[in-house]
């Protein structure tokens, strides 16, 4: 990376951090591009060099979350983890990322609701995560770690909705438990239900 590129990256990071801080402090709607630029100590025009809109910052937040998730999942596999471990890593990392800040989660939620663009990008990113979960669920079933009667697609969706439900509560209900604390038992319950040699029938 040239020095120039490095400086550009630093500016982008500063803008990103400033935006996140403002999202937390003032909410998504209460944050303007002017205030982000001012907080980052750059001119407004500089903001637009790095992000097309305020929405682009929100999309970046979600992209960071899903790429961290993908990395954690790959790491679990690289460490010799089973496909079930991979699924757990996927869902819990989504939770850890979003669970780091209630206000930020709320801001992301607000962004997906306010902006069709963020919503569309978010849907696409989560579809990728879902595909990852489906592939791991298929592998888990082939390996006999998940019951044959459990369709990989259903298991993937159940794991994803565990997260979606938990993050919804986390972002909208100030009294709700920390995200990972709420999510972990749900993931356990969902995987327990999918285990082979299931009680039923």
């Amino acid at each position: 990376m040239t020095q120039r590129q490095q400086r550009a990256q630093e500016t982008r990071d500063r803008l990103f951090t400033a935006a996140c801080e403002l999202f937390v402090a003032k909410g998504y709607a209460g944050t303007t591009v002017d205030s982000i630029a001012a907080r980052a100590g750059v001119a407004k025009g500089t903001f637009f060099v790095h992000f097309k809109t305020k929405d682009a910052v929100a999309t970046q937040l979600i992209a960071n979350q899903t790429s961290a998730t993908r990395r954690a999942r790959d790491k679990a596999v690289a460490k010799g983890g089973s496909p079930v471990d991979a699924m757990v890593a996927t869902v819990l990392t989504l939770g850890k990322q979003a669970g780091a800040s209630r206000m930020l989660s709320r801001a992301v939620l607000a962004a997906t609701l306010e902006s069709g663009e963020v919503a569309g990008d978010s849907t696409k990113l989560f579809e990728e995560i879902r595909a990852l979960l489906v592939a791991d669920a298929q592998a888990a079933r082939r390996a006999g770690l998940v019951a044959k009667r459990v369709e990989p697609e259903r298991l993937a969706v159940a794991l994803l909705t565990s997260y979606l439900g938990a993050v919804y509560a986390f972002a909208t209900d100030p009294g709700s438990v920390p995200l990972v604390e709420g999510l972990t038992p749900l993931v356990e319950a969902t995987l327990e239900a999918a285990r082979p040699v299931l009680p039923r029938r």
Partner: protein, 362 residues
């Protein structure tokens, strides 16, 4: 709500059909746009013809139209319910319950059929003639209604003075996992929830609709399905349905709810209950309801059976939480014997439910 398919078939059930609407014979999948047709006790339940007291052989029972208890027990299915096309031939909604109750000496057990995808008003209208037919055939003065899921709402419409006002012929109403306060899942599918991003709506909706074997397009275009889901929404139940369909005076109402997700149900299931359930017995949701179960649990933090929370299932005297998901409560899909994890046995559950009604002299 819920539970897909079920076919009233099996030679046993086919053998006997009460004709409610003047047509004859055999079970038939109800026309969703019209009334359901048949109540179908298995052969032993023909015992409507078994007189409660001495009567010359051959005298039709309906010569004595006002016989006292024990009154017939009518099992009423929920959303979906009966769908000939999608059901394995021997899969019935209340899986094996009628046979089991018969084997325990309960001969007055009937299963009614309502339009699978319609409002409780329309379903109740279809059910009323079936109940009249059961009264006529058995010669009994009243019936006990037992509704699973939306079936419990149907029962309330039938009984309520503001509904079909049949309270004078209803001995009791028992609901099992009926969403008396609506279900968040219905809200979500209808897009009524604020603050839920589209990707979440998509995932949960697709999981729920695949259970019903319906699509998002159906929700948009099928007015019956849409009206039904609307009725199951939280706002509708609490602000329209409940204020309107007040309980019938003098009729005892009681209810059960289910818990899954490995939740012990505490403290909800230990408070204001008639029978404590065993919090060490835990249930896992079957794949068909695991996504909605996980979402509901995560989003509301409340104990639920995959579609209905315990709080929503309460109506009248709340009897008990059972460790079962929304499908397992009625033995779906095709459950035999107790669940190895939770120990829940739906046949035993219905035996107890029935025994309680009988113990009350109904």
């Amino acid at each position: 709500m819920n539970v897909r398919f079920i076919h009233l078939a099996g030679p046993v059930v086919l053998a006997m059909a009460i004709v409610a609407c003047g047509s004859t014979g055999g079970t038939k999948s109800p026309d969703p746009s019209g009334p359901g047709i048949i109540a179908t006790p298995p052969p032993t339940a023909q015992a409507p013809t078994a007189p409660p007291h001495d009567r010359p052989v051959g005298v039709p029972v309906d010569d004595e139209p006002n016989a006292g208890p024990p009154y017939p027990i009518i099992l009423m299915h929920g959303m979906g319910g009966f769908d000939e096309l999608q059901a394995p031939i021997d899969l019935t909604y209340f899986y094996g319950v009628v046979d089991d109750l018969n084997a325990h000496g309960e001969n007055l057990v009937f299963v009614t059929t309502a339009p699978p995808y319609d409002t409780s008003e329309d379903r109740a209208a279809a059910l009323a003639p079936q109940i009249q037919a059961i009264l006529k055939q058995t010669g009994k003065a009243k019936v006990n209604l037992v509704g699973h899921s939306q079936g419990g709402m149907d029962a309330r419409v039938l009984a309520s003075p503001n509904g079909l006002a049949m309270g004078n012929v209803i001995a009791s109403v028992t609901t099992v996992a009926t969403p008396h306060q609506g279900s968040l899942v219905a809200d979500l599918v209808l897009g009524l929830l604020q603050n839920v991003p589209p990707s979440t709506v998509d995932q949960v909706t697709s999981a729920f609709l695949s259970l019903l074997q319906k699509t998002a397009y159906d929700v948009q275009t099928d007015p019956h399905l849409r009206a039904q889901l609307t009725e199951l929404s939280q706002a509708y139940m609490t602000s329209t349905f409940n204020p309107k369909y007040i309980d019938a005076p003098g009729v005892p109402y009681s209810s059960y709810g289910g818990r899954t997700n490995l939740e012990d149900g505490l403290p909800d299931c230990a408070m204001n209950v008639v029978y404590a359930d065993d919090p060490t017995k835990l249930d896992t949701a079957q794949p068909e309801v695991s996504a909605t179960a996980a979402f509901l649990q995560g989003a509301t933090g409340t104990v639920n059976d995959g579609l209905v929370t315990i709080a929503s299932a309460r109506w009248g005297t709340f009897l008990q939480c059972v460790p079962a998901d929304h499908l397992a409560e009625v033995g779906q899909l095709a459950q035999n014997g107790p669940d190895a994890l939770s120990g829940f046995d739906h046949l035993q559950f219905f035996e107890q439910l029935t025994a309680r009604i009988r113990a009350q002299g109904l």
